[in-house]
């Protein structure tokens, strides 16, 4: 009997069931997050995707092979050929160190995983951790039910998946986890006011600084939160302790990363946090004085207090402005200034403007990446504003700023996604709480909602309100007639509608992940009419040809998009790569690509180039090839060499960019054109189209007989996607420009010697004939003039 009642009490322990349920839901969310990102690995193979991850993989490889200190001090002479790159000081090491640590840990347990597999699967692992961090954050902000919903949302939402599929080994994979974990710890610090949580926030902030350049967002959002709390009159000593401890420890920790260096005290992006720190200390001190000087009149004190606070705020602002003008503090850098003034980058920094991820966001992207969450997100903001407290101010500010930034740049949809998930979860949780509550006066409810404990409390409260308020309550519930039955039906309908919306959300997310965000972009795949798959592996084919058939020290020139891939897969020295830190060097390469062959050869000789690599999509209709990017090359080159390269020269007189016969002569004779279309004029892909028909531009090319003087074709891949040319050395004998003088003219007349019989050498001329015994005759004795002169 006693045992039975024990079991019964154990089984009916709601807190126990609640924690078991939340644990299993979180575990399922982790699994969903991990497996939803594996499409590319299953369809293709475990390979690093895209461009930037190849550099991260190469650095991690270096870290694992040579150790941590050699990685921090690495000077890479195989990138940016004559200049080299100081990798230790220009990279955020968090990603590499995380992967290296996991690799070291697993290998020391004798689970011998290759570093490539650790890198490929790092992002899905951390996305599972992100959903746990989102759960913790939302639990602090609202309730446990909302937290579970938020965890499930962020596990599968496409906005986050796009940057964290398996194989996308990039900073954002771990940065979003660090961001949400830092925010969770900050909200916890604000709620408790303990230095311990503030210290933990600083440590999580340090991890975020090491992981991503977007840490600037944290160090501006948290001071903004404190400032808005001050403006709202919600100052309390908890915020004082939390922010001051976090700021000073976070400042010192953030300067440990070599890439960040002394920026936190020297650039405008970090000045907001320092300003708010000074303001908060001034405010706290004045409040302390206020409590001590309560002997004076209250109103006098209050006005003095306000005046003092305003004066100190003005003083802080003046100091920051003065320092910026005096040059001690650098102004906003181009990357962040272009978020404020969106037209700035197109004019001044064309490289930033040319990246496709930096374009403004379209409405389609919002729905594509967030589905129904973007509709319920404002509802969540409204709920947070209605029941405002210190931490909900933070999430509202996060929502507003993230919405603005996501509208400016497609890439920043990623920072909007977590807050949309959190606020939509709050909205959905509110709806479900209201409509899953059963107002009938029963005690046990074995329904399958997760908010058991809170539901019980709310039910009791609403029952009390119902009883206490009496008449008022009755009038309100009058139109619904019998409150139990009709209310029950309406509630069921609403709950079912919400469930259907959520199921459609899950289906949409999986469909988007499968179709749009799971391509490795190193390997292209197309599907035939019968559904079978046709794989185009040209990129890797070309890179491996380079790796196996060229000298180890040869230099490859290509456009900067492919630099990291060439360095990673082909292991050859490149001239420019995706880091784009040196605009002039890229402009030189752009100038070489846009000039005619002779001028380009001079530049290539000066840069010691051995091979040139171009991407050409005309045979298969690939639209991301170099001819489509060519105008950006011209623009970037024109930015540095405006006298030699003019963008207008490459357009027709009517202003079109055409590669057929009507194209401009400069375009038809430039190096990029020749490299792409060499021998293409003889190729007929289809009997309906003429030879030399470019499938991407859908025109027949203009200049078909192309010959090179200084280059020769080294390799073209199977579908003509990648073309590699070798730069020939200078000739041993330089051909002269003027006509060569002929030295082999045969004379028209035959030469006869003037030395006849009587005039040959060795013959005495006019020799006297002497017969012995006879007198020499006088008639032969005619002295010739010549004989006498010879004597």
């Amino acid at each position: 009997m006693a045992g039975e009642s024990n079991i019964r009490t154990a089984l009916s322990n709601p807190a126990g069931w609640q924690s078991l349920l939340s644990f299993s839901i979180l575990a399922l969310a982790y699994l969903a997050a991990f497996s939803s990102r594996l499409f590319a690995v299953i369809r293709f193979e475990s390979i690093i995707h895209e461009f930037d991850p190849w550099f991260n993989y190469r650095s991690t490889h270096h870290l694992v092979n040579y150790g941590f200190y050699n990685f921090l001090n690495w000077f890479d002479e195989r990138a940016w050929y004559p200049l080299g790159r100081i990798v230790g000081g220009t990279v955020y090491p968090g990603l590499m160190v995380t992967a290296g640590t996991i690799h070291w840990l697993l290998n020391s347990l004798h689970i011998t995983v290759h570093i490539r597999d650790v890198c490929v699967f790092l992002a899905p692992t951390f996305s599972g951790l992100t959903s746990i961090a989102t759960y913790l954050l939302t639990k602090e902000l609202w309730s446990q039910g909302a937290g579970l919903l938020a965890a499930c949302f962020i596990a599968i939402v496409p906005g986050y998946i796009s940057r964290s599929v398996a194989g996308s080994y990039d900073n954002e994979g771990i940065a979003i986890f660090a961001l949400l974990f830092t925010y969770f710890l900050w909200v916890k610090s604000v709620k408790t006011g303990s230095i311990f949580w503030a210290g933990c926030t600083a440590l999580a902030y340090f991890y975020m600084v090491s992981a991503w350049g977007g840490y600037v967002y944290i160090i501006n959002l948290i001071p903004l939160h404190v400032f808005v709390l001050l403006l709202m009159g919600r100052f309390s000593y908890r915020i004082f302790v939390a922010y001051c401890a976090f700021f000073i420890l976070g400042l010192l920790l953030s300067m440990q990363i070599p890439f960040v260096g002394f920026q936190p005290i020297r650039t405008s992006e970090h000045m907001a946090s320092a300003g708010v720190f000074a303001l908060l200390i001034a405010y706290g001190f004045l409040k302390y004085l206020h409590t001590h000087l309560s002997s004076l009149t209250k109103s006098e004190m209050r006005s003095l207090f306000f005046f003092a606070v305003a004066a100190s705020a003005a003083a802080v602002l003046m100091a920051v402005v003065y320092l910026t003008y005096a040059g001690y503090v650098a102004p906003w850098s181009g990357r962040f200034y272009s978020l404020y003034d969106t037209g700035y980058a197109k004019i001044h920094i064309p490289i930033i403007a040319s990246v496709s991820e930096h374009q403004p966001t379209t409405w389609v992207s919002f729905f594509f990446d967030l589905h129904v969450l973007v509709c319920t997100f404002p509802a969540g903001v409204w709920f947070c504003i209605k029941k405002i407290n210190d931490e909900r101010v933070f999430i509202v500010l996060y929502a507003i700023s993230a919405s603005y930034f996501a509208g400016v740049m497609v890439r920043l949809m990623l920072t909007l996604t977590p807050v949309v998930c959190i606020l939509s979860a709050i909205a959905f949780s509110n709806v479900l709480e209201r409509y899953l509550v059963d107002d009938t006066p029963k005690v046990h409810h074995i329904e399958d909602e997760s908010e058991d404990d809170e539901e019980g409390d709310k039910r009791n409260k609403s029952k009390d309100l119902y009883d206490k308020a009496g008449k008022v309550r009755k009038i309100r519930h009058e139109p619904s007639g019998e409150p139990e039955s009709l209310g029950g039906n309406v509630k069921t309908i609403v709950v079912m509608a919400v469930m259907m919306i959520l199921m459609m959300f899950a289906v949409h997310c999986t469909w988007v992940t499968s179709n749009a965000y799971s391509s490795p972009s190193v390997v292209l795949a197309s599907y035939n009419h019968d559904g079978s798959r046709n794989i185009l592996d040209d990129f890797r084919e070309a890179y491996y040809w380079l790796r196996q058939n060229t000298d180890d020290h040869s230099r490859v020139m290509s456009w900067w998009d492919y630099g990291y891939q060439i360095a990673g897969m082909a292991n050859r020295t490149t001239l420019v790569d995706n880091n784009t830190w040196n605009n002039s060097h890229i402009a030189l390469v752009g100038k070489a690509m846009s000039s005619n062959e002779t001028r380009a050869y001079e530049i290539m000789k000066a840069l010691d180039v051995d091979y040139v690599l171009v991407i050409f999509g005309g045979v298969i209709g690939y639209s991301g090839d170099d001819i489509n990017k060519f105008l950006w090359m011209v623009r970037i080159a024109e930015g540095e060499h405006p006298k030699e390269i003019r963008e207008g020269d490459y357009f027709t007189p009517q202003g079109e960019f055409r590669v057929d016969k009507a194209g401009s002569k400069t375009l038809l004779n430039c190096l990029m054109y020749k490299l792409c279309y060499y021998r293409f004029g003889e190729m007929q892909l289809d009997f309906r189209t003429p030879p030399g028909f470019d499938r991407t531009r859908n025109v027949e090319i203009g200049n078909k007989d192309i010959s090179f003087q200084h280059l020769e074709e080294a390799y073209t891949t199977e579908h003509w996607l990648v073309r590699i040319y070798k730069v020939k050395k200078q000739d041993n004998r330089v051909r002269l420009d003027h006509t060569v003088r002929k030295t082999d003219i045969k004379p028209k007349t035959k030469f006869t010697s003037r030395k006849s019989g009587k005039r040959k050498r060795g013959f005495i001329k006019n020799k006297m004939l002497i017969k012995k015994g006879k007198r020499p005759s006088s008639k032969n004795k005619k002295p010739s003039r010549k004989t006498s002169s010879k004597k």
Partner: protein
């Protein structure tokens, strides 16, 4: 003008009297520690102005160490002050001190790394 000056003086002297009489012993110890830290910080900054900022990371680590010790001690004082009890319901003075020590461990480890 004379009255406002008199006002300022009376305010300051009143403040000093009130401070000496009403603050508990613990807070006075923390205040003495704060004054010492502030002096150290002023000396460091003065030295930097005299000699220059050559190993800038060393100067920064030393100066920020002073500022951080000052700030953490101020936070401790705020948490331990019995007047602020209602703000810090779940933090006893012992817990506040333990947090203070934890933050100082982090601080000094980072300072040791940064000092170069």
């Amino acid at each position: 003008m004379a009255t406002s000056q008199a006002n300022v003086f009376t305010v300051v002297s009143k403040f000093y009297d009130e401070y000496v009489t009403t603050t508990p012993q613990r807070l006075k110890i923390i205040d003495a520690y704060l004054a010492y830290i502030m002096l150290t910080g002023i000396f460091q900054f003065g030295y930097c102005l005299l000699v220059g900022t050559f190993p800038f990371n060393s100067f920064l680590s030393g100066f920020i160490s002073c500022v951080a010790s000052f700030v953490l001690a101020v936070c401790l004082r705020v948490q331990v002050n019995p007047q602020n009890r209602k703000d810090f319901l779940h933090i006893s003075p012992e817990r506040a001190f333990a947090d203070f020590v934890f933050a100082h461990i982090i601080l000094h480890l980072v300072v040791m790394n940064f000092i170069g």
